[in-house]
Amino acid sequence: MKILVPVKRVIDYNVKPRVKADGTGVDLANVKMSMNPFDEIAVEEAIRIKEAGKAEEIIAVSVGPAKAQETLRTALAMGADRAILVETDEEVEPLAVAKILKAIADEEQPGLIVLGKQSISDDSNQTGQMLAALMGRPQGTFANTVEVDGDSVAVKREIDGGLETVKLSLPAIVTTDLRLNEPRYASLPNIMKAKKKPLDAKSPADYGVDIAPRLTTTNVAEPPVRQAGEKVEDVAALVEKIKALGIA
């Protein structure tokens, strides 16, 4: 079985995004970029499934600018076998990304597609579900535990009330939640080896996908700033404040 792992290059988790003064977006110039943290979890999960002897090959895919190669090299250094970069400088919406991924899945015929539940940039939380719908395949979103067993996969999902387990027939799409695993760090020898692993360059047109956006962002603004209040001296003063709120 092959596993397809889509990854996205996003602003680093530890960087606080700054909104551009002209309201056109978030300033990405000279900002540290990294692999979307949920996608790192997806790469790790794919590697663990392969290490358990349930998959033979892991293919990492990214749709994005030339620099997304770095993100793919990270996936290769972690343990993916080869990579495909679908290069474009345009911002590609989840629906178009899902269409490109479907085209790649049609070619590669993976048994499992594992991707992050959302990117920490646009926070859409759509691509996996859309890909599953376009492929007519089942989805295990917000995965906490993934167990491949023969021609099916059991996915324990993080839901609002707790946890839920669903059984999906393969091929299936899984989206990762935070507690699925702790991604490994790539070792230096593996980073060197990753430079020699195959990386195919493609374009959206190669897959016949129209990436014209359906949504227009007309403004990006800072959220309303919440002002700090006051600090109280001791618990007695806090109790007075809480009683004044009328909740105790």
Binding site: D123, Q129, T217, E230, K241, I242, I247, A248
Partner: protein, 311 residues
């Protein structure tokens, strides 16, 4: 504009998150509600009473009983022939189903809306709420998920909608429900809709300490219990306690953050609370930048003292 709202429920009652979606949909046009489930007649009756709902479509089928996206999405997409907009709550259930509906309709979904600015224009948070984008759709139909804390809840009484039966393709045969482990919170209010939340962070050390310090205060205030991602990752409490950008988004009347430093991902999940109270021994903790009332103190002394004093 005709809108179809996905009712979230457990086959016996309507989840609160749906009520905010009805309010958002009402800003776009007439509101019809889709109750997909199994033996869900009582849910359809409750949905018909929600103020602002003009019609309820009831799709009662074993295939919809566990809300599997593979089965519910084709049903919703089929019904969308008669509607201009599909709206679902931005809960784990809504987020699971809505993008699948959008893909069936070849529509780009608008996730987690905060406001309705026009018939096709909405605001939504990006970058963990560090920026608010205004987006306009050019698609012929809209598929939207709604942030529950951003809209008032529609009244659960006052409506008198008609109930019609609806049907779809049924079981897609792709997936099956196995089990659900839902934490029994007893009499404690649900986190997403609680008026008061007491939340604990990594400083609580372990699950016993968390329970010893946080639970008595929550009990006294009749509050729900939340936690930071650090506390959940460390195993102090189950995953569904997590408040934050990747957990639950809450906006209670009072949010009490105990031993929570206030990482941006946590603030994204609670900064719309009406009053924020923070107790932390680090006076420079970022939580104090958003707190209305702050107390710099060792939580192991302060919280029991507070709990006792509120007697």
């Amino acid at each position: 504009m005709n809108t179809l709202v996905l009712v979230e429920h457990d086959n016996s009652s309507v989840n609160d998150a749906t009520l905010a979606v009805v309010t958002a949909a009402g800003k776009l046009g007439e509101v019809h509600a889709l109750v997909a489930g199994h033996n869900c007649g009582s849910v359809a009756e409750s949905a018909a009473k929600i103020a602002g709902v003009a019609k309820v479509l009831k799709a009662d089928d074993a295939a919809y009983g566990d809300f599997l996206a593979e089965n519910v999405a084709p049903l919703a997409a089929g019904l969308m022939e008669s509607y201009d907009a599909f709206l679902a709550p931005a809960t784990t259930s809504g987020k699971n189903i809505a993008p699948r509906v959008a893909a069936h309709l070849d529509v780009m979904q608008i996730s987690d809306i905060l406001s309705v600015e026009g018939g096709k224009t909405f605001t939504r948070p990006i970058y963990a709420g560090n920026a608010i984008a205004t987006v306009e759709s050019s698609d012929p139909k809209l598929v939207i998920t709604v942030r529950g804390t951003a809209f008032d809840k529609a009244a659960t009484e006052g409506g008198s909608a008609t109930i019609e039966d609806a049907s779809g393709p049924g079981d897609a045969g792709l997936s099956s429900f196995v089990s659900r482990e839902v934490a029994d919170g007893g009499d404690r209010p649900e986190l997403a809709s609680a008026k008061i939340i007491v939340s604990g962070g990594r400083a609580l050390k372990d699950s016993e300490t968390f329970a010893q310090v946080i639970n008595p205060l929550a009990d006294k205030l009749g509050a729900a219990i939340g936690a930071s991602r650090a506390a959940v990752d460390a195993g102090y409490v189950p995953n569904d306690y997590q408040v934050g950008q990747t957990g639950k988004i809450v906006a209670p009347d009072v949010y009490i953050a105990i031993g929570i430093s206030g990482a941006i991902q946590h603030l994204a999940g609670m900064k719309d609370s009406k009053v924020i109270i923070a107790i932390n021994k680090d006076e420079d903790a970022p939580i104090f930048q958003v707190a209305d009332i702050g107390l710099v103190a060792d939580l192991y002394n302060a919280v029991p003292e507070l709990t006792g004093a509120l007697g």
